[in-house]
């Protein structure tokens, strides 16, 4: 079987692409699939930090593209999950170092060994982002329920259907999925935040999952642990659901409605949860 290439993309920065890439790839590996996650954010690498392997990076994607190292030297094996590998971005080069031929060669070589290749796209619509999505079979569009993120996601959907290899060679189009992150059901209930249905209405692509705004995400990245390994946390469970749905399982969406409060909480707003969200 040839590995499936999945790009995690968004257009806008800071919406959770790297967090989602790390958690999604980890989730696939936990299910027994041999998975590699590649950081395409050349010059601003961060996937290594989120995955907790920043001190083990010796060679990176650009070294492999330029023939300064081979893939076996550059792939970092995760210490917690079998079947999970990380390919870091270069911190010293810029995105022009990503050549289409080079990226294609690396992906083809990886496709022989792996089941899934997860590409963590940089923000923007420049070279790095285009290279990350160009060879993709599937795209996960990460969107915050907020106007600029939704608009940028729509722009990225346009690029997926015009600037990708599948589009240019008139193959079957890239499969597109929506992943809504930093979702706050309490704010949606108050009419302060776009609901997940609003976002689906605007973007018109199938919903893969909703990740709630959660303390667990920052905690996990502070510690260099993909949040999907924090199985007790809401965000961790939400990412594991996303992986299950991606693999074809039918899982109802969770964390999209507000936690029920008692009668006093409803009257006076006395809940820790709501206070936390007000601060965040």
């Amino acid at each position: 079987m040839v590995a499936q290439i999945i790009v995690i993309t968004s257009g806008k920065g800071g919406v959770g692409k790297t967090t989602s890439s790390a958690s999604f790839a980890t989730g696939l590996a936990m299910r027994g699939f041999k998975t590699v996650v590649i950081d395409f954010d050349v010059g601003l690498r961060n996937l290594d930090l989120v995955m907790g392997c920043e001190r083990r990076v010796v060679y990176d994607l650009i070294n492999v593209i330029h023939g300064e190292a081979n893939l076996q030297q550059a792939l970092i094996k995760d210490k917690r999950v079998d079947n999970l590998f990380i390919l870091a971005a270069s911190q010293t080069r810029d995105k022009d170092a990503l050549t289409q031929e080079g990226v294609e060669r690396v992906l083809q070589e990886l496709q022989r060994d792996f089941d899934y290749i997860v590409c963590d796209s940089p923000a923007g619509i420049e070279r790095g982002a285009i290279m990350a999505l160009y060879f993709a079979d599937t795209a996960v569009v990460v969107t915050n329920p907020e106007v600029s993120s939704v608009r940028d996601s729509d722009r990225i959907l346009g690029l997926l259907s015009s600037k990708s290899k599948r589009a240019e060679s008139k193959q079957e189009p890239i499969r597109e999925y929506l992943l809504v992150t930093r979702y706050s059901p309490a704010r949606v209930a108050r009419g302060e935040m776009l609901s997940v249905n609003d976002v689906v209405d605007i973007l018109h692509i199938p919903l893969l999952g909703v990740i709630p705004e959660s303390q667990a995400v920052l905690n996990a990245s502070n510690n260099g642990i993909p949040v999907s390994l924090e199985k007790e946390s809401d965000a961790g469970q939400a990412y594991l659901d996303v992986v299950a749905r991606f693999l074809g399982e039918n899982r109802p969406h969770r964390f999209i409605t507000e936690n029920k409060k008692g009668i006093f909480g409803r009257l006076f707003g006395w809940t820790n949860r709501e206070k936390l969200e007000d601060v965040v």
């Binding site: 106007v147 608009r151 949606v188 209930a189 009419g191 302060e192 776009l194 209405d201 009257l267 006076f268």
Partner: protein, 91 residues
């Protein structure tokens, strides 16, 4: 939301609804215009300059302004050409 917020917020318009409405308008506008108009405008502008330059000397890219505006269901292509004074006298 507590009881006080409920009373005081009633007057404000729900901001998520405003966001959705604005997004639906801008996104449908950008979808319809992104492939077609945005890409050809600079080319159109250059070709117009080239044609005008054949008849008037001293024209440059700043003398031609091309704008495409969308108003409801129709689009308006606005073309503004400032001819150089010298050329106008000769013509």
């Amino acid at each position: 939301m507590n009881i006080f917020e409920l009373i005081f917020r009633r007057q404000q318009k729900n901001s998520a609804a405003v966001a959705k409405e604005r997004l639906q308008i801008i996104v449908s506008h950008e979808r319809s215009s992104s492939q077609a108009s945005r890409d050809f405008l600079p080319v159109l502008q250059q070709e117009i300059i080239d044609v005008i330059a054949k008849y008037f000397t001293g024209i440059d890219k700043n003398s031609v302004r091309v704008e495409l505006q969308r108003m409801g269901s129709c689009s308006v292509l606005e073309l503004n050409v400032a001819l150089p004074e010298q050329a106008e006298e000769n013509a």
